[in-house]
Symmetry: none
Subunit: 255 residues, 2 copies
């Protein structure tokens, strides 16, 4: 892990929680307390955090900056990208089917489309956010039980995998962090990978939703080979995509 990456993670946590202790950060980022202190000293020199005994708090000015940024990020261009991908995915679903909807922002875009377009669909999901939205839109929904991962609001873990293995889906719609013809479908989290893998095994047909930034990216853990799922993306002009197309069906959204 590179320094700037660690700094970003520290700021991200601070942004979410206002304050963080050295020991907490040390355990979370798998580095020594001394390194965390150096990081915090650096960030303090940049005016981004204020150090206190035991840890650090977000500096006043940075806190206000962040607030504006996150508001802007909510309406980012990425969002439009994800919406058109979700549209293509929604067209695959037939009325009356039972589908699995993975946690994530891309799959979230599928929710209003499913509610409006597909009659009598039943949705199983590991995201408490998705479950709440779907229920609000009167879509039959089942949630996987277990501990909720705070970063993504998704339920993961061995218990969740066991529940998945007792279910059968007509289709699954999964988010992914990296797709290449060689490395396959990859994510940074082992637990999440295990979850996705379990879902794919129980589903008649799988769809991976990935915007252009994911194509050609490789992450830590492999979920599955590319040919195990249909790729839904908005990428149009890249050699990597051609290599993937030799292994599996690719649905490209035009926008």
């Amino acid at each position: 892990m590179i320094i700037v990456e660690r700094h970003e993670k520290i700021l991200a946590l601070l942004e979410k929680r206002q304050q963080a202790s050295v020991s907490e950060l040390s355990a979370l980022l798998l580095v020594s307390p001394a390194t965390i202190r150096r990081d915090l000293a650096d960030l303090e020199n940049l005016g981004q955090v204020t150090r206190v005994h035991g840890g650090a708090v977000l500096s006043e000015q940075y806190a206000s900056q962040m607030h504006e940024q996150t508001i802007n990020e909510k309406q980012s261009l990425h969002q439009e990208e994800k919406r058109v991908i979700a549209q293509q995915a929604a067209l695959q679903v037939r009325g009356g089917e039972t589908i699995y909807l993975d946690a994530g922002t891309t799959t979230a875009c599928l929710i209003p489309l499913l509610a409006q377009v597909v009659p009598k669909v039943t949705v199983v999901t590991n995201s408490v956010n998705h479950a709440a939205k779907l229920a609000d839109l009167s879509v039959a929904v089942m949630v996987i039980g277990g501990s909720v991962k705070l970063a993504t609001n998704a339920v993961i873990g061995s218990n969740a995998v066991q529940q998945i293995q007792q279910l059968q889906f007509d289709r699954s719609f999964l988010g992914i962090n990296g797709v290449t013809a060689e490395a396959g479908l990859t994510t940074p989290d082992m637990e999440e990978a295990a979850m996705k893998r379990a879902v794919m095994a129980q589903s008649r047909k799988n769809y991976v939703l990935a915007d252009a930034s994911k194509i050609g990216a490789v992450n830590f853990v492999k979920v599955n080979d590319v040919n195990e799922a249909v790729l839904v993306t908005n990428q149009t002009d890249q050699s990597e995509l051609e290599a993937i197309r030799k292994q599996t069906q690719v649905i490209i959204s035009e926008a």
Copy 2:
């Protein structure tokens, strides 16, 4: 937990409650009374609280600042009613405990209080809405899995009851539709009643949150006798309440 974090929690509690005792804060935040006194001395030097014998109250100027914020948060009158009930309930929770939070709008009011005031609490819930909100506020949360009832966004059913039976809670906080000394705790839905009953069996202490309109009301299905739970309400002047008080503890919120 770092000092500033504790200071914030003390202020958050005072903001909700106007005053707090040293022993109360000590138990809640899992530190010695001596540390709480030092904290209060610090906060007094900063002009944020005024110390009194046994504890502290919000300082005048800080209280007026806060007042403007609470005006913004003000919603419907019923909501205000539920909020003060939730305040009393939140004060029952000690740091580090595992609690069950029932689905419902009254219990929803507990969520921000838990997040702000109680450190290291773990919340188990059958509401996907609650789970999402809690996770957003960085509270450790576990969700019961199963079909989501569309009307309430709550997970119910025999499978959910089975999951509950494998867990143990320090405290449970339940919504209810009717409370009388004779008919006990009642709701209109059999599945929900079974769920609440299962939770009460697994919890060391149970709290039923019921606003004035629920006192004296009788619904279709009985969940339990009144004496199985502490009643938290805002009702003050009714004979029914006196009859209930003979059977169980009643916490009345003053507002």
